[in-house]
Structure formats: structure tokens, C-alpha cells
């Protein structure tokens, strides 16, 4: 585990340059407001980084309710309850800086959750952590934690403090009694489709560690080359934390090292032929 701390640190420090503009129909001033550029953590959530953006455009939009604010890229409303890096990998099309548009009118309430400030983000984040631990340890670890530990986890994430976060999260990544996780917490994202959860054990029937390739072969075989299952299909791109891992990577290791702070492995599938 010590040797792989570099991976954890590198993942934590992932950054994304974003250029925020306000939608033209939101502008109430004669002057066109300047864009707002931010370098944000991939692991964070939009509501945690957009106070500054809101204040930047507040005068131009004559808005005083930040809860009405919603973000969009290329006509796609951005779901704030997923980590920023996941949204970029899914929709960003490798465009940098990522041009994100701010809106206040016509909140798309069936597509995006209302965000009631940091409490809502914290609640959603902790809900995901609890779900992940239910999959990994039957909730034993998260339930054994004190309330203060939950707070440390949240404060570490929301204040971008690696050591504070990992001092608690290391327990959630433990192998209780040296057993691999019961099930790998993972979420599969495709554009314009509901997020999928697939329930993949850490260890195969043969007692071997399951790999990313085993996972695709079992649950999403179209991702693999028809004639050679040890290769990705040319029709699909797979992105996890902004990179495409080798298919022989063990899922248990990926879950321990490439998960987001919510303890889920977020897998993005991009179809290349449209």
C-alpha cells in the first residue's frame, strides 16, 4: 500500500481548467461580463467551487438565489452530484479549458437535483460513501465510525485536504480480516443514459482477483474486441479518472486507488462511432 500512495496523491491532485460564461439570455446589463476562469479539483463537486462564479456573474444577472443556479455544457445539464472529473470525462470532449455555461432560469428539475447548499452536497456524498461500504464490508466499517469521523471525511474533501481525508478513508479501504471487498463499488456512465450499477465481486469463482477485463467480459462484453477479449473494442473508449487503464488491472486495486472520494469507481464509456 505504501508504494501506491503516489497514485492516491496524484489522483487527489487532479485539476481541471474551466471557463465559466453566463447564458446570454440571463444578462440584464448592457456590458457583456467577462468569463470566469477556475482551476478546480477533479474530485470535488460543482456546488463546492462555484460560489466565486456566482458572485462573478451576480451583477450581470441580477440574481440573488444561488440555489437556482445550474450549469450546462453543449446543451447538457451537468449533474452536480457527480464529481467534476466524471462530468468532464463524460461530456467534455477533451476541450480545454472546459467551457461551462451558467443558467438561472428554467431549472431542469427532472434532470438535476436542486442543490440546497453544502448540506445537500454533504448528505449526498455521505449517502454514496455508506452505499459503497455496504457493498464492500456490509456497512461494518462505516457504522463503526463515530460522527466525528464522518465529519473529517467531509471536511477533508470539501476543503481539499488530502491527509485529513485519507486519515479516515484508509479504514474504508481496508480489507477486513484480509478479505478482499465483498463487492466492488462502481458506477458506469454513458451519455444520455441512466447511470448503471453492476455488482461485481472482487474475487472470481476460481479464487482469482477479478480484473477490469473480467468485469467487461461479464457485464459489458461489447466494450471488448470481438475477436480478442484482451483488447478494447475500437468502437468504445473507457475512461477512469481521466485515463484508460489496462484491462489486466485488478478491480480490487482499482477500487482502492482509483475510486473517487465517494468510494465509487466511476467508469465512463464513450461510444466512438455515432
Amino acid at each position: 500500500m505504501a508504494d501506491d500512495k503516489e497514485v492516491l496523491r496524484e489522483i487527489w491532485e487532479g485539476r481541471l481548467p474551466i471557463c465559466f460564461n453566463i447564458s446570454p439570455d440571463e444578462i440584464t446589463t448592457v456590458d457583456q461580463p467577462e468569463p470566469c476562469y477556475l482551476l478546480v479539483p477533479r474530485m470535488s463537486y460543482f456546488p463546492l467551487v462555484t460560489d466565486k462564479v456566482f458572485r462573478h456573474f451576480q451583477k450581470a444577472s441580477n440574481q440573488d438565489d444561488i440555489d437556482k443556479m445550474w450549469l450546462e455544457y453543449n446543451g447538457q445539464p451537468l449533474k452536480w452530484h457527480y464529481p467534476i472529473g466524471v462530468l468532464y470525462d463524460l461530456y467534455g470532449e477533451n476541450v480545454l479549458p472546459w467551457p461551462v455555461t451558467l443558467h438561472f432560469k428554467k431549472f431542469p428539475e427532472t434532470e438535476i437535483m436542486k442543490c440546497h447548499g453544502r448540506d445537500a452536497v454533504e448528505a449526498h456524498f455521505m449517502s454514496a460513501v455508506k452505499e459503497a461500504d455496504s457493498l464492500k464490508h456490509r456497512s461494518v466499517v462505516i457504522n463503526a465510525m463515530k460522527r466525528n469521523d464522518h465529519k473529517q471525511l467531509w471536511m477533508g474533501l470539501s476543503n481539499d485536504r488530502y491527509d485529513q481525508f485519507w486519515s479516515i478513508n484508509k479504514k474504508l479501504m481496508e480489507r477486513v480480516n484480509s478479505e478482499p471487498f465483498r463487492c466492488i463499488p462502481l458506477r458506469v456512465h454513458q451519455r444520455y443514459k441512466p447511470m448503471l450499477m453492476k455488482f461485481c465481486k472482487s474475487v472470481s469463482e476460481k479464487g482469482e482477483l477479478n480484473t477490469l477485463g473480467n468485469f467487461f467480459q461479464t457485464f459489458l462484453p461489447f466494450i471488448l474486441d470481438e475477436n480478442d477479449h484482451s483488447k478494447y473494442s475500437k468502437n468504445w473508449k473507457v475512461i477512469i479518472q481521466g485515463i484508460t487503464p489496462m484491462l489486466n488491472t485488478p478491480l480490487q486495486w482499482m477500487s482502492e486507488h482509483l475510486s473517487h472520494p465517494d468510494n465509487f469507481l466511476h467508469i465512463i464509456l464513450i461510444e466512438l462511432i455515432c
Binding site: E109, K114, D119, A123, S134, P194, M195, F199
Partner: protein, 192 residues
């Protein structure tokens, strides 16, 4: 055995509930999920006084027949309740959505305010009690009751041998306990 239910038992319970529901037109129906499994859906309309602290819920059909005096602050709310199986927690989860007559979605504050008085203690931790969530099958935004304590609640029934003989339907028992906080009340017909 802890307070969990298997997916197979969940399906059997839902099938039984829908069978009973059909006998007196209570609108529970089965839907097929993406994985070929099933979940349960119920639609209902209730009259709700959104401005009163003391919210009184009545089924729309009943009050319509009784011609009771209607406050101008009451309105008909359309509820759609979905009961899905969670493979993460191995328990059922209640998702729901509520619309006003003008098509707008009820706010989270309104949903919290509709929780009956006898369940108000749960609102002390309201963010981890009822909140919005992505519907696992549909992908759009629903409200849901957080499932992380369901197995603890149900352990009392599943493991209590003295009542085990009478405990026939996990989902029904769970729904009778938690449904009221989401405006889902069950007729006594289900328990005969």
C-alpha cells in the same frame, strides 16, 4: 439472518402485493427493470394542505364523494411511488415523486413538511432521511427514503422467532412502517 431480503424474495413479495392490490383496485403494478427483474409502482392523488403545519391527507376520490368543504389552500397532489430492490444494501428502497396540479414538482421542504407528526423525530437528520436521488431505472430525479438503516429496522421482524410465523411479507411489513412518511398508506386489506 440479518434484516436483509434476497432479490428473489423481493420479487415474490411484490408479486403478492400486486395480486392483493388487484382485488380492490389499489393501483400497485409491476414494472420490468433493465436487468429483467421487476419493481413495483403505485400512482395516487391526494388532497394536501401545503400551508398548514398540521397537514391532513385525504384520498382525493373520497373527499370528492363526500363533498367536504374545500379550503382554497388545498390542492391535489399526484404521487408516484416506486419500490425497487437495492443490491447495494440488499433491502427495498422507496422512491417517489410528487406533482402539483400545475405540473411542478413539490419542493424538498414541502416533502419534509408532509411527514406525519408521529414520524417527526426522523427529521432531526432530515438530510439522511429523505432527499433527492437519481432513479436507478429511469435516470431522472426522484425523492427517496435512505435505505442505510432498513436492515436494522427489519431485523426486529426477520429474527424475532415469536412473530416469525405471522411474518409473511417483508416488503409489506417494511412499507407499512416507512410508507406513511412518504404519503404512502396501505389499506388493511393487505394484512388480512
Amino acid at each position: 439472518m440479518d434484516g436483509y431480503i434476497s432479490k428473489e424474495d423481493f420479487k415474490r413479495c411484490c408479486y403478492d402485493i400486486c395480486t392483493i392490490s388487484m382485488k380492490f383496485q389499489d393501483n400497485f403494478v409491476l414494472r420490468t427493470s433493465k436487468d429483467g427483474d421487476c419493481y413495483m409502482v403505485r400512482k395516487s392523488i391526494k388532497k394536501v394542505d401545503l400551508e398548514n403545519e398540521e397537514t391532513v391527507l385525504t384520498d382525493f376520490e373520497e373527499s370528492f364523494e363526500c363533498q367536504s368543504i374545500t379550503s382554497s389552500k388545498c390542492c391535489a397532489i399526484t404521487f408516484e411511488h416506486h419500490i425497487l430492490y437495492s443490491e447495494s444494501f440488499n433491502v427495498p428502497v422507496l422512491y417517489f415523486v410528487a406533482y402539483c396540479h400545475d405540473g411542478s414538482m413539490l419542493s424538498l421542504e414541502s416533502i419534509w413538511n408532509l411527514v406525519p407528526r408521529q414520524h417527526q423525530h426522523a427529521l432531526l437528520e432530515k438530510w439522511s432521511f429523505i432527499s433527492q436521488q437519481e432513479h436507478p431505472e429511469l435516470g431522472c430525479i426522484y425523492y427517496h427514503l435512505h435505505p442505510c438503516h432498513t436492515s436494522t429496522l427489519m431485523k426486529n421482524f426477520v429474527c424475532n422467532h415469536s412473530i416469525k410465523e405471522k411474518f409473511k411479507n417483508y416488503v409489506l411489513t417494511w412499507l407499512s412502517a416507512v410508507g406513511p412518511v412518504a404519503c404512502l398508506d396501505l389499506e388493511l386489506e393487505y394484512f388480512k
